[in-house]
Every structure is written in C-alpha cells, then in structure tokens.
C-alpha cells in the first residue's frame, strides 16, 4: 500500500500543489515571483520523489485501488520524469521571461502545474475515459496558457485556433472511445486487448472505426501529418516558455499514451503500422518543407517539432508489442526535450521585451556579444540535428537501430534523409549567430539569472544524457 502510494506520490504532489497555488493566487501577497518559485518547488519535489521511485525499479498495476485504470511502469516513470523536468525548467524560465513581459499573474504558474498533472495522468492511464479526462485537464490548462497574453492579437488567434481544433480532437477521441466500448464492452486497455485476441481486430468494424478516431485524436495532439497545420501558428502565438512547454512536456505525455494504446495488441499495431509508416514519412518531410521557409525562429522551431514527431513515429512503428519497454521512445523524448527546452530557455531571456527578437536576422552576430549563450544555442541545435556527441545523436541512433532491427530499413533511410535536410535550417541559425557582424547590440543585461542558469544546466543535460544512456 505504501509502495503504491509512493508511486502515485508525484501525481498527488503536482495535483495538490496546483490546487494550492490556484487558491493562494487569490491573495494579493502571492506575487508572481513567489508563485514562480512555488511552482518550481512543486516540480522539483515531484521530480525527486519520482527519481527515488525510479531507483527502486518497481511497477504497479493498481488493480485493487483503481481497478487497473492506472498503471505505473518503467516507461511511465521515465516519461513522468521528463515531464516534471520540463515543468521545472518552464517555471524557472518563465520567471525570467516575465521580468520583461508584463502580462503575468500568479495563476499562470498554477496552470503550468495543472497541465503537468494532466500529463502525468496521461502517462499512467490505461483506460479510455481516464485518458480523456487527463487529456482535457492538460489541454484546458494549455489553452489558457497559449492565450495568456490577452492583448496580443497573434496570441488570441493562436488560442482560438488551438481551442477549436483541440475540441474537435477531443470529440474524435470520445467518439472513438464510445465505438470501442460498444464493440468490446470495456474501456480498459487490458480488456480491449483480450477482446482483440479473442475476436480479431479486423473482424469488428466498430473497433476499427473507434481505433481510427482515437488515432486521429492522438495524431492531432502530437502534431503529426495531416493534423499538423495548427502547430506553427499556435507555437508562434504562445509566449516563449509556454511554447517550450508545449513542444516538450505535452509531446512526451501524448507519445506515452500513444505507445501504451498502440501496444494493446499485436494485430492492432500491425493493422496500423502501414499507415503510421506513411504518416511518419509525410510528417518528417512536410515538417522539413515548412521549416525551411520560415523566417521566424519560433515558427522554425515549431516546424522542427513536427519533424521530431516524425522521428518519434518511426520509433512507434518499430516498437514490438511483446517486450515493450518504451526505452527508445523515452530516450528520444528526453534528448529532444533537453534540446528544445534549452533553446526556449535561452530565447526567454534573449528575446527581449515583448519578444522583439524573432527572426533569424535578429540573432545575427550574437556570438560576438554573448558568446556563451550563442554556444549553448548552437549545442542545442546540434543536438536537435543529431550531431554527436549530443543527446540528440544517441536518440536518433536508437531510433534508427530499432527501425532497422524491426525490418523498416526504408523508414530509417528516409529518416536520415530528412535529418540531412533539417541540417539546413539548424545550421542557418548557427551561421547567423557566428559568421555575421552584429546588427544590434545585445547589451541589455539578462533580466534575471534563472533562465541563463537553466540554459546551462540543460547544456550539461544534453551531454550527460548521451554519455549515460541509462534509459535503454
């Protein structure tokens, strides 16, 4: 019992912390700064608890307490660790970001914690209704965060787009759940899996339809082709820390639940594998095409997020249902999160007031004025591009190995071609930062030292993750 409680403790801490923060935001004494530190403490605490749970290496099915709707596995623990770390760095870099931008209220931080609650729940949920609830807890918080800058038109446009389309995705998900429930008389993953084993997947039309709808919902949230179009505008409209959070934490949670759902049963997975194959290829190449054309850094990063979704889909295509550990996916997510969060951390203090530095050209000559920050950004970009010895390389190496091992040689080669193309826009920023003279002076002091510290911690993470590949 106490063991089970230990495994759930991160979720409880985050959930209770979110409510506590929200309630205390009503008091005027709770300034933005204190709220930021408060949320950081909550994330850090939950992270440490989760880490101690990881060391003991226990899994629990909670069949007694929750009737098997929550499952804690090594994969979910790893995903939760990534999410909590993302939350921590987001909270800290937000503090710096809001020294320069003044649309913050303490509720902002409670919303980030709420979103993390939903994400943690998603990684553990093994039942359709709880997946839906978790998805909505997460999404609602994110919707608000995206539109937090109410006076900014772009931000409002972003939240409107995201809300409308996200609601559609949610509706698809419920529709899919209903169909599956109709076919199998259960919403629990385990029972659905047993039903498919007994009756076959393709023999039940309602099941196919239901699984299709659910797939659509997941693909939408994960920003995969052909449901990727919202990403660019939404990432662009959201404020820098929120974009970073969405790109990393949210994606981690979605891929965790996606993998859990897909490995329900072998026939279900093999039924979708062909489609996922094409989806991942298109996701990579469409993402690349979009990214090449961008002038704004944030939009480029959004598009590169699509490309990385494509790589993760390769890993999903290659997972085997029999001995699923999720190691490859978790490792790639961790590597990707470290790189992406790092860039957004750096942007949150380099962007200037009102995010005035946005385009590639705005960062020309950064290396002369801010050599350390430019070096950090370059390392993150190289990690995202998959150049050794960074974490991104090891992540890509595992993904390719698992793909070739699963017989998907073509997919692996296409993934590699896609990363050659992606070199172009990652290098472009490095070239802009290093090989041009500065057009403006980057002489304003960093508004607070938290975001720079986070950035440099993440640089260390990028190397550490690649040198100690414990997750595999």
């Amino acid at each position: 019992m106490t063991n089970d409680l230990m495994l759930l403790l991160p979720l409880i801490i985050v959930g209770a912390g979110a409510i506590l923060l929200m309630l205390s935001s009503a008091y005027e004494k709770l300034t933005n700064e204190i709220a930021a530190y408060g949320s950081a403490v909550i994330f850090a605490l939950a992270f440490l608890v989760q880490l101690s749970a990881c060391i003991t290496d226990e899994a629990a099915l909670f069949s007694g307490a929750f009737n098997g709707i929550l499952v804690v596995s090594n994969f979910s623990k790893a995903a939760s660790l990534i999410i909590l770390a993302c939350g921590l760095f987001t909270a800290l870099s937000s503090q710096t970001y809001f020294r320069q931008n003044n649309f913050c209220t303490p509720e902002y931080y409670s919303l980030t914690v709420f979103a993390a609650t939903g994400m943690l729940l998603l990684t553990m949920a093994h039942e359709l209704i709880s997946v839906f609830i978790a998805l909505e807890i997460m999404s609602l918080a994110i919707y608000i965060l995206v539109g937090y800058d109410r006076k900014n038109v772009i931000s409002t446009e972003a939240v409107l787009k995201y809300l409308m389309l996200g609601a559609f995705a949610g509706a698809f998900f419920t529709m899919g759940s209903a169909l599956i429930y109709g076919a199998t008389a259960s919403t629990k993953f385990a029972t659905i899996g047993k039903y498919i084993v007994a009756h076959g997947f393709l023999q039940t039309p309602a099941l196919i339809g239901g699984a299709f709808f659910i797939l659509v919902a997941f693909l939408f949230k994960a920003a995969a082709f052909p449901f990727h179009a919202w990403v660019i505008d939404v990432y662009d409209g959201a404020s820098v820390p929120v974009t970073g959070y969405m790109a990393t934490g949210l994606k981690t949670a979605i891929f965790a639940v996606f993998a859990n759902f897909l490995i329900l049963d072998e026939t279900l997975q093999s039924g979708w594998i062909n489609y996922l194959f094409y989806i991942s290829v298109f996701t990579m190449f469409v993402g690349n095409l979009i990214a090449i054309g961008q002038q704004s850094l944030k939009r480029m990063l959004a598009a590169s997020g699509i490309v990385h979704t494509g790589y993760l889909l390769i890993a999903l295509v290659a997972v085997s249902t029999k001995d699923f550990t999720g190691g490859v996916i978790a490792f790639y997510l961790a590597a990707y999160a470290a790189g992406t969060l790092g860039i957004f951390c750096a942007l949150s203090y380099l962007g200037g007031t009102g995010e005035k530095r946005q385009t590639f050209d705005d960062f020309k000559g950064l290396a002369k004025a801010r050599p350390y920050s430019a070096a950090a950004i370059s390392i993150f970009l190289l990690s995202m591009a998959g150049i050794p010895p960074t974490a991104g390389f090891m992540g890509k190496f595992y993904v390719i190995t698992s793909a070739i091992n699963a017989g998907q040689v073509v997919l692996a080669v296409l993934g590699i071609i896609s990363s050659v193309i992606s070199m172009w826009y990652y290098l472009r920023l490095i070239i802009n930062m290093y090989f041009y003279e500065a057009e403006e002076e980057f002489n304003e002091p960093a508004p607070s030292s938290l975001a720079p510290i986070c950035t440099f911690i993440l640089v260390i993470c990028v190397f550490a993750i690649s040198l100690y590949p414990v997750a595999i």
Binding site: G386, F393, F397, I400, A412, I416, M423, F435
Partner: protein
C-alpha cells in the same frame, strides 16, 4: 609508457581546446597552449610509435563498455594502418603554431579540437565511436572556415558542411545496418569493427549499405565525382584548416575505406572495385587537368591535392597488398608533402598578400631557403625518385598494373600531369624576374626554418630508406588480406610471397 596513452592523445587536445573556448584567454596564451599541447601529443605519439610492435593486430587497446544493451563500447586501438595516420597528424600539426602570426583564440582552440577528434577517429575500434569522432571532426572545420575564412567563405562553408553531413548520415544508417545484421547472424549486439569481417552480407540492402559507406568516404577523400566542395573549401579556408583538411582529414576517408569497406563488404567491394578504381583514375586526371588551368596557387594546390588523393584511393581499390601498402605509405608522403606545400602557400599569401601566380616571380633569389624547401616538398608531391612520394606511387602503380593493366597504365601516365603544373607554377613563382609584389619577400626566419626542417628531412629519409616504415605497415596489410581469403583467394596466396618481393622493390 602508460595504459591509456591513446585516450590521452585524443582527449588532451580536445579538453585543452574546450578550456580555451570557455575561458577568456588571450591570443598569445591560446597560441602557446596550443603549441605546448600539440608538442606533448607529439611526444606521446613518438613514444607510442616506439612501443608499437607491428603484430598486425590492434595494440594499445582500451575497452570500456558504454551502451551495453547494444554492445557499443569505448574501444580504442592502433594497428599498422591507423598508426601512420595518427603519426602524420601528431608530427605535422605542431608546425602550424610555429609558423604564422598569432591569430584569434578560437582559431587555436578549434585546431586543438580537430586534432583530438582526428586522432579519435583513427584510433576508434568501435563503429559508433568512430562515427562520433568523425562528426566531431567536422565541427571545428566548420567554425574555422566560417569565422576565419576568405571573402567567399559562407558558400564554401555550407557546401562542405552539408556535403559531409549528408554523406556521414548515410554512413550512420550503414553502420546501424551492420550492427543489426551482426545481431541477426550471431545473436549478439556489437559494433566492434574487427568482428564485422565475419559478417556474411549479400543482397540489395548490403549493396546500399556498401554505398552508404563508400559515399561518405568518397566525399571526405574526395573522390570523383564527389569532389566539388573541395576547391572552394580549400581555397577559402584559413591555411591551418586547409592544411588539416588536406594533410590528415582526407586520409581518414581513405582509412575508412580500408577499415570498413574492404574487410566487411568483401563481396560488394570485389564487384565494384573496377568502377571505383576508374573513378580514382578519372579523379586524378580531371583534377590534374583542372590544376593546370588555375591562376590562384592555393586553388591549384587544392586540385593537385585532390588529384593525388585519387591515386591513394586507387591503391586501396586495387585489392592487393602492394597497392594497399603503397597507399598507406603514400598517405604519409602526401600528408608531409602537400600539407607542407599548403603551409608554404599560406606563407606566400601572408607575405605578398596575393594568391595569383602571375603576380609573383623571382622569389628564389630573394629567399633561397624557402625556395629549397618548397622545391623538395614539391618534388616529393610529384613523386620524384629519392623522395617519399616516389615509393608510394611506385607501389600503387605496380599494384594497379597487377589488378588491371589499363588502370595501371592510365594512372602511371597521369602522373606526368602533376609534374606539368607543379614545375610550371614553380618556375613562374620562384624563377623569372621579380615582380613588385615579390620584391621584398623575406626568407624563412630561423624558427620557421627549423620548424620545417624535420619534415623536409623526413621526406627525404622516407624516400631513400623506407624499410623501417614499411615493416610496421606490412603485418597489418598482410593480415588484412588474410581475412579475406575466401573472396580474393588468389591474392592471399601471393601475400606471403610478396613480403620478400617488397623489399626488393625498394632497392
């Protein structure tokens, strides 16, 4: 001397370079640090060379498991093939710090990092480790070219970077394919290079993997038709970067072919060897003819270097021991001669502020020592008997004729082109009447003269008495072909007979 000497040779320069980058050290300190570190590396390498016992197998092995679930390991070692490329790097790089006036801190830091990474790529005995160093090698070149290059540096930087990365990512897929095949055939995960030779590869995917490796190395060498990045990059890069690229990095491409492609893809290699050999010969001719037409001496040297890389690559593709031994010998010879020529070109450019051949003349009368050194390096580069270039080229052509008479004859005659442009350039620049730009040309200072002296002596010693060097190479190359007995059986039989024959040839 001590156990982890290879790790020290690799990581001492890298760590020193990184340290220079993060600390606000001044230019002079940076230069001094670079000099001390590279000399320390030289001492260690010489010690390594002395301790190398030429068994043909890997020596000075270090093995630490890294990613155990996939069998990736931190696995280092040198044999007769890698030793010479490692030595070439260690011997040549300290010169750079002596010769030119003090440059930016980042210049020296990048130089140190690239030195360490190249040593790492050569010593790595694990494919993943090799790949990691192979990629790290590119980054300092990218920054040196982009930050300190000539006026048209940006397109050149992009070209070389995208070209090489495209090639190396394909190689990554091929490496992973090898690892997975090994797992499928022997039910064990490993990426160790020496184990890959046991693989039995056939089918279309194997051919793709073969080309995955081949293209990556062909771009680095560069082999015709993947050479288009070379003239721009070599011309625009600062002298030290050109020197590194031509003297050592290109050789690592050849080394890769010897290490990966020949033992692992024996079947595919035997099938495509004639194609590759012709591509080497065409590269020789094409770049040689292109070199004749150049007006810029740095660009001319770039083409000349590419042309000579063609013959080194040809030696590898001929699939017999003489040619392979010749290739490795020629790798060192080419590194010393062409590398030094690029440094001389840098000096010329530094002192006259021009790179046009037409603008120069009569330097021999102003700077006799410089002219003498230049002449020796140049003659070694064209393969005059008595210099190091002759031995290697002779052995390669001998092997080429054994392999395919047409290829051998073409390669032999093409060497004349090299003599043609080199002598013509030498005559223009060093003899004839002095021009205004070369009128005040200063001879080499004492420090510079002493710096180049060991290399110039090495060129001559290697040309006259090659036996000590060859004796370290041959066990490894012999072993190399012993492994492939099944496919090239008729050559393996001759392998043993070749050993005495080789010694006769040098006489």
């Amino acid at each position: 001397m001590f156990e982890h000497v290879l790790s020290v040779i690799i990581f001492l320069p890298i760590l020193a370079g990184l340290l220079l980058l993060v600390t606000p050290a001044s230019k002079t300190i940076a230069r001094f640090t670079g000099l001390v570190i590279s000399l320390a590396t030289l001492v260690l390498s010489v010690d390594l060379y002395a301790g190398f016992s030429a068994t043909g197998h890997l020596e000075f092995v270090e093995y630490i498991p890294w990613v155990q679930s996939l069998g990736v390991a931190y696995h280092l070692g040198v044999d007769g093939i890698s030793l010479f490329i490692l030595m070439a790097g260690s011997v040549l790089l300290p010169m750079v710090y002596f010769v030119f006036s003090t440059k930016e801190k980042g210049y020296y830091a990048n130089l140190l990092i690239v030195q360490g990474a190249m040593a790492g790529a050569v010593c790595a005995a694990d494919m993943i480790l090799f790949y990691i160093f192979w990629e790290i090698m590119l980054l300092p070149v990218f920054f040196m070219l982009g930050l300190y290059g000539g006026p048209k540096k940006l397109p050149a930087t992009l070209k070389i970077t995208l070209y090489t990365i495209a090639g190396s990512l394909l190689m990554l897929a091929a490496i992973v394919y090898l690892g997975v095949s090994y797992h499928a055939q022997f039910n064990e995960w490993t990426f160790a290079m020496d184990k890959m030779a046991q693989l039995n590869l056939s089918g279309r995917v194997a051919v793709f993997a073969f080309f995955g490796f081949m293209i990556a190395f062909a771009i680095k060498i560069p082999l015709f038709p993947f050479h288009t990045w070379l003239p721009d990059a070599y011309t625009e890069a600062p002298t030290a970067a050109t020197f590194v690229l031509s003297a050592i990095m290109a050789k690592i491409g050849v080394y890769g072919v010897i290490r990966f492609v020949v033992p692992v893809f024996d079947e595919q290699f035997a099938r495509f060897a004639i194609l590759l050999a012709y591509s080497g010969v065409i590269g020789m001719m094409y770049c040689g003819i292109a070199a004749i037409a150049q007006k810029d001496f740095k660009r001319m040297l770039a083409f000349s270097s590419a042309s000579h890389m063609g013959i080194i690559a040809l030696g590898v593709f001929c699939m017999n021991m003489q040619a392979l031994t010749g290739s490795i010998y020629q790798i060192v010879a080419h590194a010393t001669s062409t590398g030094v020529l690029f440094l001389f070109a840098g000096i010329l450019e530094d002192r006259t502020q021009t790179r046009t051949i037409e603008d120069l003349g009569g330097i021999a009368s102003k700077a006799p020592v410089f002219a003498l050194y230049f002449a020796i390096a140049m003659l070694a580069s064209v393969g005059l008997p008595g210099t190091s270039g002759f031995i290697g080229e002779f052995m390669i052509i001998l092997g080429a004729i054994k392999f395919n008479t047409a290829v051998g004859v073409l390669a032999g005659t093409t060497l004349i082109i090299g003599v043609c442009y080199m002598l013509w350039m030498f005559q223009k620049v060093f003899f004839q009447n002095t021009t205004p730009t070369s009128e005040n040309f200063k001879d080499l200072t004492l420090v510079e003269g002493l710096t180049f002296l060991p290399v110039i002596i090495l060129i001559i010693v290697m040309g006259i008495y090659p036996q000590p060097f060859l004796s370290k190479i041959t066990p490894s190359t012999a072993l190399h072909f012993a492994q492939n007995e099944s496919v090239v059986a008729h050559q393996a039989v001759t392998t043993h007979a070749l050993l005495p024959e080789l010694t006769i040839e040098q006489k």
